[in-house]
């Protein structure tokens, strides 16, 4: 154990403290929470979780969120793959400007777009569907996916393409059976980031849904205010929102650092 490893350890403890508190609260009854401070749950209860797993208005929030996040991840990665290929292999009219324009979409505050998005998706009849949220999140996820994938593709030598074409591969066959598998890690990292940014976003997801596709994050804000101040329930719901992210991150743990570093500036 080196002396300097104290820094990451202290940092990770700092990160885990608020999470611990959330998890600890989720096992307390609301009465215990409000009665006073206790470091550990005194009367350990699973009641909060039981409420969430048995009440459709709660657990559908999770299903809705997972649905639109998955749709968004698939759309983003699938359309970003050929685009990233073009950016990494070809020079075409306006390519640099286009690339920059794509990135500027990350800079627009979601608050700016909330109302126009509502009107746009109402106008095309998609309001309150999973597809609406999935498409809206493409605004910031597609540029990101293109950016990450382009970085990974840049690391694949051009000779791979040329050899395949000499061997008589058609483009689609080469792309699907040789090229994409050779950047598997990149696809994983891009999918991870799309999942992450779609999962954590609330403002657009809340604006574009009412009942049928309502995300869990919105369910939480509503129930917390209408049912008084159900802190235990809120904490349990919050704890459950951490789990999908934790699962996804586990799969890309070895590539995550690399994924961040990819892509040109």
């Amino acid at each position: 154990m080196q002396k300097r490893s104290i820094v990451p350890i202290v940092y990770i403890l700092f990160l885990l403290l608020p999470i611990y508190w959330l998890v600890a609260m989720s096992f307390k009854t609301t009465n215990e929470i409000l009665a006073g401070f206790s470091l550990f749950p005194q009367t350990f209860t699973l009641e909060n979780y039981k409420t969430i797993f048995t009440d459709p208005s709660w657990y559908w929030g999770y299903i809705n969120s997972i649905l639109y996040v998955s749709i968004n991840t698939v759309i983003s990665v699938v359309v970003a793959l050929p685009a990233a290929y073009a950016f990494s292999r070809y020079r075409f009219l306006g390519d640099k400007q286009l690339f920059f324009w794509l990135l500027t979409n990350r800079m627009a505050p979601a608050a700016v777009f909330a109302l126009p998005f509502f009107q746009l998706y109402s106008a095309v009849g998609l309001f309150d569907t999973h597809l609406a949220v999935a498409l809206a999140h493409c605004l910031f996820n597609i540029p990101l996916a293109v950016w990450i994938l382009e970085g990974f593709m840049g690391g694949v030598p051009k000779e791979l393409d040329e050899t395949a074409f000499v061997d008589g591969y058609s483009f689609p066959r080469f792309f699907a059976t040789i090229f994409v598998p050779s950047i598997k890690a990149g696809v994983g990292v891009a999918a991870f980031f799309c999942f992450m940014f779609s999962w954590v976003e609330l403002l657009l997801a809340k604006t574009l849904t009412a009942v049928a596709a309502k995300p869990i994050a919105a369910t939480m804000t509503k129930t917390a205010s209408s049912a008084g101040y159900e802190l235990g329930l809120l904490a349990a719901a919050g704890t459950l929102t951490i789990i999908p992210g934790a699962i996804v991150i586990y799969f890309v743990r070895n590539y995550i650092a690399k994924g961040f570093a990819m892509g040109r500036v």
Partner: protein, 287 residues
Amino acid sequence: MKTENNKGWFFVAPVLVLVAFNALIPMMTVVNYSVQETFGDNVFFWQGLDWFQQILRSDRFHSALGRQFLFTFLILIIEIPLGIAIALSMPRKGFWVPVCLVLMALPMLIPWNVVGAMWNIFTLPDIGLLGYFLNHVLGINYDMTQDPLAAWVTIITMDVWHWTSLVVLLSYAGLVSIPDAYYQAAKIDGASNWSVFRYIQLPKMKTVLTIAILLRFMDSFNIYTEPFVLTGGGPGNSTTLLSIDLVKIALGQFDLGPAAAMSLIYFAITLLVSWLFYTLMTKDDLN
């Protein structure tokens, strides 16, 4: 290196269509609102640039903008050096690397309103872990619903908690790409830790740090959900950042024209500052 091939446009067409659908149409709606006045019923009157003048002259906008710049400045000045320091002290290989990375990335995967709610119950004066500790163990009078300074410290701490890991992961990625030979050469030359950092590690981290600073700037400048859930902009207006103010005007008061004009000014400022950062940080590469 690259082939000249305008077929590239076919490859980017789907991306273009999807992003343009989401970016251009809403943006045009905003532009439309920004130059018109409405009294409801979808009746609009031409208003010219009045809203822009009104916003640019309003004290409310100036103070929200000031708070926003202060927030972003503090965030960058804390998170970037802290992130670099943590990345430098992380192990380079072995069992603990993925463990560290996964634990550090965890805060970034929590929905933003949950982050706000989590920090809310963490800092409640009498029943939150931090709030209880500060008030009853250290004896500091801490209540962020009353004290603007406490509210500021809390939102800054929350953002440091939430996003420093992004800087850590990026810097770390830059660090592990440095070949061992560089360090060995530095050792032979008897270089101090500082000069290793200054002349080997920092230059190698430059690209990823540019990404880190740009991303942190954009995201902290556009931050909405977390401070909104945590403080609601209060006490008073002390933590009403730009986007919180914008949503108050747009959805709270339904002043579409001023809100749209403010959106465009807001977006223009973000673009301008991002461009400045980008040009300054990549200046050396071009020469």
